[in-house]
Symmetry: C2
């Protein structure tokens, strides 16, 4: 008998979601590698074995035993695209929109992204941290064990660095593990209105070096991301920023094709970006490029849902082209304030026509690859970090089918029970 | 100082949702009667006063004090249309649909409503009760303090009565209060296929009298409901059933216009039905009728959402006609398994173009009227039952704006804290 720390046994299904060799691409998406009547053995925060309950109970002597009692085990959800940390809310703007106000009327009333930028700039670091801790607690309770967070509500040096510092503190103060993204090119701030090229120069000469310095000081690799969209940053501006960022040691991401297909996805593939995100209006040529390259396509179905729009990421076309698709929440105060990846799965099933198995793999394994962590998290394979959910159901197919409530009963992060 | 049982004070907003005189009709929908820095006084399970915290704290001596600490109070949600109690699930059918299977293929594989009918017929009364208790527990945790439940998965005498008995037991065993509906005309069961008129005769001569007997034995008034829809029961058949039901002492409801506008809504108004539910394809003449009559229009946005359909209840037209609109979940295992009225509000805001205030009033006061209980529940007015939610937010407008998680912190039913 081998001594281990934790054995979770008697699960109706262990959804392994195999993917040591890379994300699940194209038609392979949805391979869950289910072990029925299964168990997972954990030692020092890592998975050491997955197999039949009867076998693992014979092979391992565990300090802690958890009887899953016919429930389902899945990898912890990975949310590879959020806009935490932000400050305040925009419930009034949502109300105005429902009341029929136009985008311009909302802007005139002080709404839109600059409203959150003003709030974030004014908030102290402590306020920013305190405002986001409950959001992370909700994410965790609904099963998200790792998440990406980003800047982009500072849009000036001090406030962008304050957002980075807030992320850092948040990563130290609760269990959700984080990937950090630097997004000073999220919007052209009001004070640079009409001078986009000048703002791009400022990003390149002032903000990226400041981000690079922060990165070295903290010993983590940052992603650099750009909002490549009509009326924001065009493909040439996006290329300038990302090329400079890559030279400074950032890994790359792109916001592309949310409202118009400019070619941002193709650029992402060309530059070897880890992910291209949104992808609603993605042109056919860019979908083909996803099939050829390594860049993960991240669908954010909460965003069109949040805005009651009718068009979603063309998942079937991306998969038919051989692309690797992940899901994320895009959780943010303007378009979609939802912390639950279960809700994202429910939306992905209905509006991206994914099966529950495809959506689950996209929200775990492929989402882990979308933040460059596919070798560490996102599946229940030996050697990986023990980030495990116990769902209060005997069948993973209740994910997506049911919605609006929480199917997660227990959350295990690095082998420790953090929600029960 | 008047002695009371409970004082909840220091709420940023008390959303009273006034409506002693009737539901909020037409343009009035969304009158929340907000008291800022408010308090609610409760004695013997009823609200005795609502007002400013400073005043109520001076006037009342409470055995229990709850400091809402800047949070928001609303009436408990009322869910006036669910399909509890059912047995089993149809996650496999959802998966088939996502995989592209047609309705006919799903039926051929044993899916569809008859799948649930078979499960309910086979389940024992105890199994039926046990399977539904967790659903009610989730409803309560997400803020539903009263709900309608119905038969309609029996479609034969013994099984319909078993569903009634299950409801009765469920109503005794947990805090959510229930309205009971008898729906033997939910579908034409397989064994009556092609003989709809004969099944209608069976409903009228056998099932309605059995329901009436149950009603007298238990001393409660049942609603009788019919699924008036193309290919199910036409308007003439619906009229026969409901007319007989009214004569037997049932109050009336109608499922109308989910897939085709047959005239079921107009019939509901003509017969004085308490509610007409679904109302997606409702003809203009029927919308006008809603404005003239007393029948509440119940929108079920979870149903088109659950099926990824694009058309929803035309709320604006119903309100423009002077109708009274309520919201409900339609929670059922086939089309929309969602227990949360918060999710229904989020859908109502996005797809029925309701403001958060309109959706909240539709999910509380008007929903109470849709089950004939508007004088007892649905608002925070003195004299009404003390069914109160404490939302973990300072602004009710976060309802609908945020979605996917649970904003309800504390649930109070008849003056007792039942979730905290």
């Amino acid at each position: 008998m081998q001594e281990i720390d934790l054995l979770i046994h008697s699960a109706s299904q262990v959804c392994v979601v195999p993917g040591y060799d890379g994300p699940q691409r194209g038609e392979r998406l949805g391979d869950l590698g289910i072990v029925e009547d299964g168990a997972v053995a954990v030692k020092e925060g890592r998975i050491v074995a997955v197999g039949k309950s009867v076998e693992l109970r014979a092979d391992y002597e565990a300090e802690t035993m958890i009887d899953a009692n016919g429930r389902t085990l899945t990898p912890g959800f990975v949310d590879p695209h959020t806009h935490l940390p932000w400050y305040g809310d925009r419930a009034n703007e949502f109300e105005m929109r429902l009341g029929g106000a136009s985008y311009m009327e909302i802007m005139a009333a002080g709404g839109g992204i600059m409203s959150t930028v003003r709030s974030v700039r004014q908030a102290s670091l402590d306020e920013l941290v305190a405002d986001n801790l409950p959001r992370l607690a909700r994410m965790l309770r609904y099963g998200t064990t790792s998440a990406e967070m980003k800047t982009g509500y500072g849009l000036e040096k001090a406030a962008e660095l304050k957002q980075l510092d807030a992320m850092w503190q948040l990563s130290q103060r609760q269990p959700v593990e984080m990937a950090f993204t630097f997004l000073p090119a999220h919007a052209v701030p009001a004070e640079w209105h009409g001078r986009t090229d000048a703002y791009v120069n400022y990003v390149i000469t002032e903000l990226l070096p400041a981000g690079a310095e922060w990165m070295q000081k903290h010993g983590v690799t940052l992603f650099c991301d750009v909002f490549c969209e009509a009326g924001v940053f065009d493909v040439a501006q996006t290329r300038r920023i990302l090329t400079r960022a890559a030279a400074l040691g950032f890994r790359l991401k792109v916001h592309a094709d949310e409202f118009e297909g400019l070619g941002g996805t193709k650029l992402a593939v060309e530059l070897g970006a880890v992910s291209a995100d949104h992808l609603v209006k993605t042109p056919d040529a860019d979908i083909s490029a996803l099939g050829q390259g390594e860049t993960i396509a991240v669908g954010l179905p909460g965003t069109p849902f949040g805005l009651a729009e009718r068009e979603y990421t063309p998942a079937k076309a991306i998969l038919a082209a051989g692309g690797a698709l992940a899901l994320a929440s895009d959780c943010n105060p303007g378009t979609t304030w939802n912390e639950s990846m279960q809700m994202v799965i429910a939306l992905g099933c209905r509006y991206m026509e994914l099966t529950q198995a495809q959506a689950l793999a996209a929200a775990t394994l492929n989402a882990a690859y979308a933040i460059g962590c596919g070798a560490e998290i996102g599946s229940l394979e030996p050697g990986k970090q023990a980030d495990i959910l116990i769902l209060d159901t005997a069948d993973y197919r209740q994910l997506g089918y049911r919605y609006g409530t929480n199917l997660v009963q227990t959350v295990i992060k690095k082998g420790q029970v953090v929600v029960e």
